[in-house]
């Protein structure tokens, strides 16, 4: 028995190592994209990074720091060395360090993403189960069409419609803004509801379609038919037998969606003035604050890759049918 356990642990270790190694070329590629992002801007990258009003001393110092008189590979290695020690440069606006700026913005983005995920699960799982268990009824058609509408609706338009309804027609929720949950938890919730609904609705559409499809497949399986033949009540068959087994692809989809949320927040945060990484990126683009743009793009891509890796691992661990090879 122990022999099997230790062999399983070794397998898992090897799998983890191979997955981590497969990330190396992707992370190398994303770092190249972020590096060239500033180099491709027409003109001097030092001026792009410091702004037009930078003094000669600062320009000379940054030129030396970035090794701009050296060949490109040396420049890249110098830049990478700074990034790996958390030195993302300074924002052109206000001169603050970029890395703490990014970390501060990650908190609100994480809270909004989590809330959106909860909203999507609360809507999508019951709707998907009802659609599957009542296949080809009005409930199924209604839920499926609603999901298709959710997928077709640009999130910023849904956000605007929610503002029109709940902030202007029935003024019960604020249209935009943010307050830390540590300072004013109720105020935070009131600011959170509309952006979380906006972001959650698009996620709910995809999750509902996946829940319906997976439940339909599981409900057709032999063990569900056996459970029904044994006289197990329908409700119990759905929740204990079918839904438990349908969770695996849904968990995978949720992992993928967590990654997609990092993209989705860009527009939602802009509509609701939510001070997360998405709004920071958009503001930085318009201010031509390239150190912030570069840092935000790199950090978001790395997070996206890590979340996808985590999803892969969770999928492998919770479904014994998926091999570690």
């Amino acid at each position: 028995m122990n022999r099997f356990k230790s062999s399983g642990a070794t397998e898992l270790g090897k799998f983890l190592l191979s997955r981590l190694l497969s990330l190396v070329p992707i992370l190398f590629g994303t770092s190249l994209v972020a590096f060239f992002l500033v180099r491709l801007i027409p003109g001097d990258p030092v001026i792009a990074l410091l702004g037009l009003e930078a003094n000669d001393g600062a320009i000379a110092a940054l030129r030396a720091k970035l090794a701009l008189d050296q060949p490109l590979p040396v420049q890249y290695l110098a830049w990478l060395g700074h990034i790996l020690t958390g030195d993302f440069g300074r924002s052109i606006q206000g001169g603050r360090e970029v890395f703490p700026l990014l970390l501060n913005a990650l908190g609100p983005t994480a809270l909004l993403s989590l809330a959106a995920l909860i909203v999507s699960l609360v809507i999508a799982i019951p709707a998907g189960i009802v659609a599957a268990t009542r296949r080809d009824t009005a409930a199924d058609y209604g839920a499926s069409f609603a999901a298709l509408c959710g997928l077709s609706m640009p999130s910023f338009w849904l956000g605007i419609l929610l503002i029109l309804t709940f902030s202007i027609a029935l003024p019960i929720l604020p249209a935009s803004g943010y307050v830390s949950p540590l300072v004013d938890p109720l105020g935070f919730l009131s600011f959170l509801i509309l952006p979380a609904l906006t972001l959650g609705a698009a996620l709910a559409a995809a999750t509902m379609r996946m829940t319906r499809a997976t439940m339909l497949e599981v409900l057709r399986s032999d063990y569900v038919r056996t459970a029904r033949a044994k006289g197990v009540p329908w409700r119990r068959v759905v929740w204990r037998h079918a839904f438990r087994n349908a969770q695996i692809p849904i968990v995978t989809l949720l992992g993928i969606q967590m990654g997609q949320l990092l993209g989705g927040v860009v527009v939602t945060e802009t509509v609701f003035s939510w001070p997360g990484i998405g709004k920071l990126t958009v503001d930085a683009i318009f201010a031509r604050d390239y150190p912030v743009v570069q840092g935000a793009v790199l950090l978001t891509a790395v997070l996206f890759v890590l979340i996808n890796l985590l999803t892969d691992l969770v999928y492998t661990l919770i479904d014994p049918r998926v091999g570690l090879a």
Partner: protein
């Protein structure tokens, strides 16, 4: 057993569309958007950029069906002309991604492991970015404009086509008729583009129809953020960006461009779903 003549693909496709009510609705919505784009000068009652300072922020009426904006411009005319930008960006970006992605996927699948690895690792890197973020980064570097929005959307969709084309090429290149061409002495490029390519196109075209909807949404995001076509060119996205400032005074400015994006994307999604079902061999 009686012999049955195989149905022509075109007629099977048409009957498939007509049988499925969702597909018919999708087709109708897509045709409506195409009609608006093609016949905009005939349909729009006003010049989309013509200001009328006597009719600023007028609500919908018989004269101005969708009301007017803060410069008195007719919102209906702007929505109709906006269809041109959305469809133009959708067609050009998806066609660009389809052609370049298919070519890269064909080359990756047919020319040995080193080429395959090199091309697919680059595709993996593009895939490693959330698509809207990469599109934003590209337009931020190149500058906001319609052509750069097209380029950005094409680049983020490139890996989708490359992956499908590569996977299909790996299967088709080992089939007997390809081996026969090789034995007859045809060169690798001839085999690739005259024999393999026509046999891998069906799933790529289906994916293209589904990505069209995504491309229209991405264009609207870029325009909404101010990184697409620049004013005064009317786009549905930049009309919504403008509407944000007048939500309490003129909510109609937000209703109609948003509804135009929603209905067009819904049409393409319904149409793409139907296309996938028709081409899915499990449904035959």
């Amino acid at each position: 057993m009686s012999a049955v003549a195989p149905a022509r693909p075109g007629s099977a496709f048409l009957s498939g569309i007509l049988r499925d009510r969702r597909a018919a609705l999708g087709c109708a919505l897509v045709l409506l958007a195409c009609l608006a784009a093609l016949a905009a000068p005939l349909i729009a009652p006003f010049d989309p950029n013509d200001p009328d300072f006597a009719a600023i922020l007028s609500p919908p009426s018989a004269v101005h069906l969708f009301g007017t904006d803060d410069l008195g411009r007719d919102t209906f005319s702007r929505v109709v002309y906006g269809a041109r930008v959305s469809l133009f960006v959708g067609i050009l970006s998806v066609a660009g991604a389809l052609v370049a992605g298919t070519a890269l996927g064909l080359i990756a699948g047919a020319f040995g492991e080193l080429t395959d690895r090199l091309i697919m690792r680059v595709m993996d890197v593009i895939f490693a970015f959330p698509s809207i973020l990469l599109a934003l980064a590209i337009t931020a570097v190149l500058g906001p404009s319609l052509s750069n929005a097209v380029l950005a959307i094409a680049v983020v969709n490139l890996p989708v086509f490359a992956r499908i084309a590569r996977a299909q090429t790996l299967v088709v290149r080992r089939l007997d008729f390809v081996e026969a061409q090789r034995a007859l002495g045809f060169g690798p490029w001839t085999i690739l583009f005259t024999t393999i390519m026509p046999n891998i196109l069906a799933p790529i075209i289906v994916q293209g129809s589904l990505l069209f909807a995504a491309a229209i949404i991405t264009e609207s995001y870029l325009s909404f953020l101010g990184l697409g076509a620049q004013p005064p060119t009317p786009t549905w996205g930049n009309m919504l960006k403008n509407a944000i400032g007048f939500l309490d005074l003129a909510p109609w400015l937000a209703w109609f461009p948003g509804a135009a994006i929603f209905l067009t994307v819904l049409g393409f999604n319904l149409f793409g779903d139907a296309l996938r079902d028709i081409f899915d061999p499990r449904n035959t």
